[in-house]
Symmetry: C2
Subunit: 359 residues, 2 copies
C-alpha cells in the first residue's frame, strides 16, 4: 500500500511543524492514521490546550518540494515502501529523508565507518582500506562526509557504494574541502539528510545526523576519535539502537586512540579488518522490532478536559511509562496515550521513546 | 614450621631427579610427607616397576648448593616459609627457585609486564612508563629480562622493585645486551630461576620461565607481541592460573599489535595505564585455592602389584581423572593415586595437574 502524493505532502508538512519531533510525529500517525487527518485535527487540539500553534503554510511546504525537485533530490517519508527498513526499526524513526543520488543503496546491508576529523595518515589509510574491503564484501559504507576518517571511508567505498548523511540539507556542500567528494557521492552514491533543502548545517543538527548514520547501519566502526567526539555519540546511539559497535584499537600514545580504546573497555568489538565484522555479523541477531501495537487502540475520539488534567497532574520531570500512569488512574492505556499526545502538543508534556513521558 | 637443612637439600635432590616434574614432586611430598622419606622409598618403587632410575648423586647436589653459595644466590624450596604465596597457589608449583638479590620483593604484590623483543620505540616507552607508574603505586614489576619490552619494564621499575625470571641459571647473563641491567637488578631487585646454577638458557626453558613470571603475579600486561610469541604463552598461562590478563592496544598497521589485539578479542582487559590495572584489581577476587586435601589419605603403604596393573590397564592417551579410575575399579581414591604415582615413576603413566593422569 503506497502513500498518495497528498499524504506524502502532508507528512512533510507535519514533520516541519514546530515542536513536532519524531516521537510526536509517529504518535500522531498512530492516533489519526494519516498525516492528512492529523493536520486537520491539530488546530483544534492545540486550541483546546489554550495555545497558538502555527502549522507551516502550504506555500512553504510547496517551496521545499520545489527546491528538492530543482536539486534533483527525492523525498522519502516514513511509510514509503522504500523507506529503509533498518531506519524504520529505530525508535522513533526520522519522519523523512531527502536523498540525492542512488537511494536504493540504503536497502542494501549498510555499515557505518566514522571517526576523527583531524585523523592521522595511518587512521585514514585504515578507514579507506576497511571501507574498500567492506564494499567488496557487499556492504554499503555509511558515513558523515566530515574531513578525516569520514572522507577516507567514503573514498574507499566510492566504487562499491557509499551513503553520506549530512547535517544540513542535501544541497549544503559541507565541509567545503570535501566538495569534490560530495559531487562524486551524489553521482555514484547517495547523499541523505533529514534537514530541509537549503538548510545550512548547524551544531544542533549533528546528533540527528549521527542517529541516521547509525540507524541505517547494522554496525558502526569507530576508527580514531577523541573521548568527547561526535563519533563516540554515534557509537552510543548505535548501541541504543541495538546495532553492533566496533572500534579500531590504537596506541595509548596517540590521543586519537582514546575514543576507540574507551569503547573497547565498554565492550565494543575489536576491529582490525573485514574478518572482525564478518565474525560479528555471522552470529544470529534479529533486528530489534519496531514498537508494535498502536498505543491508541480503544482511545475515544474526544477526550474529557478533566481527564487530561488528571494525567497532567501525575507527570514529573522523571520520565514515566504510560502504562504506569494508566494503572494509577485506572484508565485504558489508549486514553492515557491520547491525553499525553494532546498535552505534548501544547508543551505540557514531553513524549519520549519507549512510551515514556515527562513534564 | 620451617624445613631443616637436610630436608631442603633432599627437596633439591628430588627436584633434580630425571622424570620428576613438578606434578610428581608435589605428589611425592604428599605421599611421603617429606622429600627425605620420598628419596628413601624411590629406588624400591622404581625397582618394583622393573626399571632403573638414577637419583642425582649427593655430590652433584652438593655441587649445585656450593655453586649457588659462591654466586651469592639463595635456594628457596616449596614449603619454605618465604616461598611466594602466589606461586604456591599455581598447580603444580615449581619445586624450587634460585634467587639472587632481594627475594623479599616476591612477597609484595607483583605484576608482570612482558612483550616483544623487537619492540617499537613507542612500545618501550609505554612499558617503561607503565612499570614506573606501577612501581610508584606499590607493585613489584616482574618480567623476563629479554630485549625490548621486558628490558624497558625492568628499567622503569628498577627504583621501586623489579624481579627478573631467567630461563637459564640465575648466574646465566642472557641476553648479553642486558648485562648492565642484569647487574642492576641483581643489586637492587631480584633475579630468579628454576634452572640449576650454571645452566645456559635453552629454548625448552622458556615456557617454565614464563609460568613463573605469571605465577608470581596477580596480573600480566602484554604491551607489544606477535601472534605466535612467548608473551602470548605467558598470557595464556596467566589465564589458566586465574590471574588477570591485560593488553595494551595498538594500531592494526603495526604487526606488533596483533598479539595484544588478539588478547583483547579473547577478553583481556584493555590497559592504557595504571588506572586500568587499579580498576581491575579493585574488584574482589580470591586467589584460586591450591589443591587442598592430600590425595593419598588412606592409601596403604605397600600396593599390590596386580592392583597397579589394573590401574595401568585403564589408562589411555586421554587424560582421565583419578576419581573416575577409582569408581571404575571400586577402589579408594588414595589407593589409585598411589598406584598412578608408582606407574609414573617408571614412565608408564603421566601425572597431570588437577588429579588427571594419562598413559
Amino acid at each position: 500500500m503506497s502513500l498518495t502524493d497528498a499524504e506524502r505532502f502532508s507528512r512533510l508538512r507535519l514533520a516541519r511543524t514546530d515542536q513536532i519531533g519524531p516521537v510526536t510525529f509517529r504518535q500522531l500517525l498512530d492516533r489519526f492514521g494519516t498525516a492528512e487527518r492529523a493536520l486537520e485535527a491539530l488546530p483544534d487540539l492545540i486550541r483546546r490546550g489554550g495555545r497558538g500553534h502555527a502549522l507551516p503554510t502550504v506555500e512553504n511546504v510547496e517551496a521545499e518540494m520545489a527546491a528538492g525537485e530543482r536539486a534533483g533530490a527525492r523525498l522519502m517519508v516514513l511509510g514509503d515502501a522504500d523507506y529503509p527498513a533498518m531506519l524504520a526499526a529505530v525508535d522513533p524513526p526520522p519522519p523523512l529523508l531527502w536523498t540525492l543520488g542512488d537511494a536504493a543503496l540504503m536497502a542494501r546491508p549498510c555499515i557505518a565507518v566514522v571517526g576523527a576529523r583531524i585523523a592521522s595518515a595511518g587512521g585514514q589509510r585504515i578507514a579507506r582500506g576497511l571501507a574498500q574491503q567492506l564494499g567488496e564484501a557487499g556492504h554499503v559504507v555509511v558515513s558523515g562526509l566530515a574531513r578525516g576518517i569520514d572522507g577516507a571511508a567514503h573514498t574507499g567505498a566510492l566504487p562499491t557504494g557509499t551513503v553520506a548523511v549530512l547535517g544540513g540539507g542535501v544541497d549544503d556542500v559541507y565541509p567545503p574541502d570535501n566538495a569534490d567528494l560530495y559531487a562524486q557521492i551524489a553521482d555514484q552514491g547517495c547523499i541523505v539528510s533529514e534537514s530541509p533543502m537549503g538548510a545550512r548545517a548547524q551544531a544542533k543538527d549533528f546528533p540527528r545526523r549521527n542517529r541516521i548514520i547509525s540507524g541505517l547501519s547494522r554496525g558502526v566502526i569507530v576508527v580514531e576519535a577523541e573521548l568527547r567526539s561526535g563519533s563516540l555519540i554515534t557509537a552510543r546511539l548505535a548501541g541504543e539502537q541495538g546495532r553492533d559497535v566496533f572500534a579500531g584499537p590504537g596506541s595509548p600514545l596517540d590521543p586519537r586512540s582514546k575514543g576507540p580504546n574507551e569503547l573497547l573497555r565498554q565492550g565494543a568489538i575489536l576491529c582490525e579488518g573485514l574478518e572482525d565484522v564478518q565474525r560479528a555479523f555471522s552470529t544470529l541477531r534479529t533486528l530489534r522490532e519496531p514498537p508494535g501495537d498502536n498505543p491508541f487502540d480503544g482511545a475515544p475520539d474526544e477526550l474529557d478536559a478533566a481527564l487530561i488534567e488528571q494525567v497532567a497532574a501525575l507527570l514529573s520531570p522523571t520520565p514515566t511509562p504510560r502504562d504506569e500512569l494508566a494503572r494509577a488512574l485506572d484508565l485504558p492505556i489508549g486514553t492515557v496515550a491520547a491525553a499525553l499526545l494532546e498535552l505534548s502538543l501544547t508543551g505540557r508534556a514531553t513524549l519520549l521513546p519507549g512510551g515514556l513521558a515527562s513534564r
